[in-house]
């Protein structure tokens, strides 16, 4: 009995279906359309199934096929007209009435609208507008990759085995980043907007973080200044060598700190997958702070991802922003981030702030 009580439920548990809501939809004839749109009298799409009568062909409303007007005759090109719909006439005289072959009878509105429920496809556009450059907007511009190249963060030429070579190279496909521009280029921008531009570099690390300082400042120092280099290297080594001692405090991260370059690499990797294209305007105003625990092979533990806080939006928009952040962390970490394993203690737990300030539609 005890055994049955413990494990019996496993055999008895029903496969509960996921919840399902139900509502009704009806065909939108003109009459229904009007009726549906009146809030008080709207009988449409009730949550409970109303009796929806399928419209019979040849119902009370006669089928009137839409008249496809005759193709326009060739006329002289006209200059660019002013917007006519809403603009007041300069001289408030009526627009000259078009020459219309007046019908014999007085103009009458058609019988109740032609129920041209043409589910058939409408005419195909004959001149599709050109899409606005690359559909992908990313921090770094990238040209269109070779057709056979795999998508990767870096450009790598294809490596093929050379039979005559002494050392046979491992065969590798070419890789290249996905084509992207750095900003949305609208049709109106096209004549003057550059197709690619370099975004400003990320803000440098704060100077107080000494472990990062040598790396961050390295390019600015003279290459020949060997003494300074040596001292800086020694300092960095000294700083890192003392780190374990400091890290012995309980619950504190251990290992040498990440350099600015290593943190930048992580930041770049995550932002490659942070797709804000489908976020609502409100979500694009919401900054979320997300925490994630990492495995030793630098993959995110997806179960550990959670939102710590948000700012600038509602709970609903924060939820959308969080989901986009979560997807970014998981997607680009699927094969492991490029993080030094010897510093695992430093990146075992990461807090990422996703700030869409620069990604808003402006």
């Amino acid at each position: 009995m005890i055994l049955w009580a413990l494990i019996g439920g496993f055999f008895l548990r029903a496969n509960d279906p996921l919840p399902l809501q139900s509502t009704e939809v009806s065909l939108l004839t003109s009459a229904e359309f009007a009726a549906l749109s009146v809030p008080d009298a709207s009988p449409t799409v009730p949550s409970e199934a109303p009796q929806v009568v399928a419209p019979e062909p040849g119902d009370s409303e006669p089928e009137v096929a839409p008249t496809i007007e005759a193709a326009p005759a060739t006329v002289e090109p006209a200059p660019a007209p002013e917007p006519e719909a809403e603009s007041a006439p300069e001289q408030p005289q009526p627009e000259p009435a078009p020459v219309v072959e007046a019908p014999e009878e007085a103009p009458m509105l058609p019988e109740p609208p032609s129920e041209q429920a043409s589910n058939a496809e409408a005419t195909k556009p004959d001149a599709e507008p050109q899409p606005a450059s690359a559909p992908r907007v990313a921090p770094e511009a990238a040209p269109e990759p070779e057709p056979e190249a795999e998508v990767s963060e870096t450009v790598t030429p294809e490596v093929t085995p050379d039979a005559e070579a002494e050392v046979v190279a491992e065969e590798k496909p070419a890789t290249a980043p996905e084509e992207a521009t750095t900003e949305i280029v609208t049709e109106a921008d096209k004549p003057s907007a550059p197709t690619a531009s370099v975004r400003p570099r990320s803000r440098p690390a704060p100077p107080a973080r000494v472990a990062e300082t040598p790396v961050a400042e390295e390019p600015a120092r003279p290459q020949s200044d060997a003494v300074v280099d040596a001292v800086a290297a020694a300092l960095a080594e000294a700083a890192t060598s003392t780190a374990p001692t400091i890290a012995e405090a309980p619950a504190a991260p251990s290992g040498p700190p990440l350099t600015g370059g290593e943190k930048d690499a992580l930041r770049v990797a995550v932002q490659q997958c942070w797709n804000v294209g489908s976020l609502s305007t409100d979500a694009l105003r919401t900054t979320v702070v997300v925490t994630v625990n990492m495995t030793r092979d630098a993959r995110p533990d997806s179960g550990s991802i959670r939102m710590l806080s948000f700012e600038g939006g509602s709970a609903a928009s924060a939820s959308q922003a969080y989901e986009a952040a979560r997807r970014a962390i998981i997607r680009c970490g699927a094969s492991g981030y490029n993080l030094p394993v010897e510093k695992y203690g430093q990146w075992q737990n990461i807090e990422m702030t996703f700030n869409p300030e620069r990604m808003r539609i402006k």
Binding site: L20, A80, A88, P92, Q271, A334, Q346, P356
Partner: protein, 443 residues
């Protein structure tokens, strides 16, 4: 000298190093992501399951409309079916998230269609967030006549769109427009109404007189438009259900045009021209309450209410060129909000209330653009020989407008564009079309 520099650096660094290290190590690694990417979200929409043979013909069609709705926004990209690893064989089958992750599907929409003997069909769907390993909300079911299968597909797409983006959809909506035919110098025009994607066209008037500027009421049951059937421009109100129409009750000798409903559905804004001067007026759609809102020797036209009904945006040439102005709904001193080069017209307030769309003419080119309601942050979204007459989708994310082409064979057509300026698309119509006005989302 080098030694001094080195020593100085050493002292400075040693002084700062240890506290900084201690600080660095006091918590988790923190990074800030400020730059992301903007690209369509990959979505998988496996063909809906036909739960009985009669549903077979609808299952594929409904799936295609849903996928087209989503992909048409430019926010989503449909993953080709031949890339699928998992096949969905039952509406209640478990989703294999790993299979969808492997093809980078970030959302999956599954569904089923069943057809009853009385001509009714039922469409149900579920959406899943692949990288969250969880459903996106509960399943949802729509029922109706088989003839309304397209509406059901749009409703499913609206629900999916809303769950993923967090904002309302716009697929289950209609557009009233002017259908055109004939040569440019003798155009025949009539009012048409269609689904937002160009399907299910119905005509509301014949082509016996010029019609312009149709505008839906906030409830979508009536349309205001300008007609020349009396020989001069006059505003009419038309009941969409009965196609009955009547002229607004204004002085017979005046010309009225550019009408627009107020958010209460009772107030009508329009331009009234008398004695050679055009000004803005409001009145009750059922007659009475005629009120003059502007009084200037210039041309004031194209008025539109803010969504809360407190303000009116309109165009005026009172400064010498055509510009945009905002004033209180009851009239009062207007504030000019457009200051860029060129001429501005046909302002339309966004349903969200945060932006105003407009037509701009500058350097021989026409643009559709948006600006904040104070005139700041102007952005031009399009550029062509002739772009004009913007109208907002119910969710304020998309703008539809008229684009005319140059030359003898030039014809107007309807286009849509995202407010980011991306995803410029032509809206399919049976022939030349102009002057679109988007309905509210259907109930």
């Amino acid at each position: 000298m080098r030694l001094i520099k080195a020593m100085t650096l050493a002292v400075l660094c040693l002084g700062a190093a240890f506290p900084a290290v201690a600080q660095e190590r006091s918590g988790p690694l923190r990074i800030e992501i400020t730059e992301g990417v903007i690209e369509p979200l990959p979505v998988a929409v496996p063909t809906f399951i036909a739960e009985n043979p009669a549903a077979q013909e609808f299952a594929e069609s409904i799936t295609r409309v849903i996928a087209a709705d989503l992909a048409g926004t430019g926010l989503f990209r449909e993953i080709p079916r031949d890339a699928f690893i998992s096949q969905v064989t039952s509406f209640d089958s478990t989703i294999q998230y790993s299979d969808w992750k492997a093809i980078n599907a970030q959302a999956v929409v599954t569904g089923a269609v069943s057809a009853a003997g009385d001509g009714r069909i039922t469409v149900k769907f579920r959406a899943f967030d692949v990288f969250a390993d969880a459903p996106l909300g509960d399943g949802l079911q729509f029922g109706g006549s088989s003839a309304s299968w397209r509406r059901m597909a749009h409703k499913v797409a609206d629900a999916v769109y809303s769950r993923i983006t967090g904002e309302g959809g716009y697929f289950d909506s209609r557009v009233v427009f002017v259908s055109e035919s004939g040569p440019k110098d003798a155009r025949l025009k009539r009012l048409g109404v269609m689904d937002y994607d160009g399907a299910n066209v119905q005509y509301l008037t014949d082509s016996s007189s010029i019609v312009l500027a149709p505008r839906f009421s906030p409830t979508g049951d009536r349309v205001l438009y300008t007609s020349y059937e009396t020989g001069s421009p006059r505003v009419f109100v038309l009941d969409v259900g009965t196609v009955q129409r009547r002229a607004l009750d204004v002085p017979a000798e005046s010309m009225t045009f550019a009408p627009r409903f107020g958010p209460d559905g009772q107030t009508v804004l329009f331009s009234l021209s008398e004695g050679g001067n055009s000004d803005l007026y409001s009145m009750n759609v059922n007659g009475g309450g005629l009120q003059r809102l502007t009084s200037a020797p210039s041309i004031e036209t194209a008025p539109d209410f803010s969504p809360d009904g407190s303000r009116i945006v309109f165009e005026s040439d009172r400064s010498g060129t055509q510009q945009l102005y905002v004033m209180p709904a009851g009239g009062g001193e207007p504030s000019r909000i457009s200051f860029g080069q060129g001429r501005y017209g046909t302002p339309v307030w966004s349903p969200r209330g945060d932006l105003i769309a407009f037509t701009k003419q500058n350097n021989g080119r026409f643009h559709i653009g948006v600006m904040r309601t104070d005139g700041s942050e102007e952005r031009l979204l399009t550029a062509s020989f002739l772009d004009e007459g913007p109208t907002w989708a119910p969710n304020g994310r998309v703008i539809m407008f008229t684009r005319g082409t140059q030359g003898a064979g030039g014809e107007p057509a309807l286009y849509s564009v995202d407010i980011s300026g991306r995803n410029l698309r032509r809206v399919p119509t049976e022939g030349p079309a102009s002057d679109p006005a988007w309905s509210p989302l259907l109930k």
